[in-house]
């Protein structure tokens, strides 16, 4: 399941719901991305996430489908927020459930790696020196390449 929203989410409720009633699930892996108070050397007082409505849902849906194709998963959840967020706020939740831990763990890592390079979100940070757009990281491209995805 895919959700793109301004509002915060309740991690406990979301993870509970993901596995509820499905006793085939043996492993539930999750990753939560949070707003940090530092961006490089600069103190960050807030972050604004812009996205491309329509394409965001499409790309996240493709990622969900590809994860199901690669691993035996019982459930996938991606929630990504947009709008203005402050340090400590949740940005993203990726969760995967499978009979076996290996599949859940690998799929969760795959999804967050792919999401970092391909989900159309952009961050701008509020710093003492003014507002600035976050630059993409070469490490994120390297992490994506691990999964042998088409360009």
């Amino acid at each position: 399941m895919i959700r793109v929203q301004r509002e915060d989410f309740d991690v406990g409720v979301e993870l509970e719901r993901l596995a509820a009633g499905n006793h085939r699930i043996g492993g539930l892996s999750s990753f939560i991305g949070l707003v940090r108070d530092m961006g490089g050397e600069e103190r960050v007082s807030a972050l604004t996430l812009e996205h491309y409505p329509g394409m965001t849902e499409k790309k996240l849906g493709e990622m969900e489908t590809e994860a199901h194709r690669r691993w035996p998963l019982d459930a996938v959840l991606i929630i990504h927020r947009y709008g203005r967020l402050e340090p400590g706020d949740r940005i993203v939740l990726v969760a995967t459930a499978s009979p076996h831990r290996e599949a859940a763990l690998a799929a969760c890592q795959f999804l967050i790696d792919w999401l970092k390079t391909d989900a159309p979100f952009w961050k701008s940070e509020e710093t003492p020196a003014g507002e600035r757009w976050v630059e993409s990281r070469a490490e994120d491209e390297a992490a994506r390449r691990r999964w042998k995805l088409c360009p």
Partner: protein, 83 residues
């Protein structure tokens, strides 16, 4: 054709969305970007370094040689930084 701009490209061009009557000689993304640069001013400046420009046609990432047609939704933006 609908053109969309995001993040610093939107901010530099000063526009999030515009409708364009595609000049008939433009058949590919590369030609579209050339044509936008040729408008000069904010466009020329924003699109100066194409190594930090990504393009999606109808919500799919595409390369410079991808065809563009009247009726397409073309989005132009920097590398993504979500997650």
């Amino acid at each position: 054709m609908k053109l969309l701009y995001f993040a610093w490209l939107r901010a530099r061009i000063g526009c999030a969305e515009e409708e364009l009557d595609l000049p008939p000689e433009i058949r590919e993304v590369a030609g579209l970007l050339d044509w936008l640069q040729s408008r000069g001013g904010r466009y020329a400046e924003a699109l100066r370094d194409l190594s930090v420009v990504r393009v999606a046609v109808n919500q799919n990432y595409v390369g410079l040689e991808h065809p563009v047609r009247e009726g397409d939704e073309v989005a132009i933006f920097p590398p993504v930084t979500g997650g």
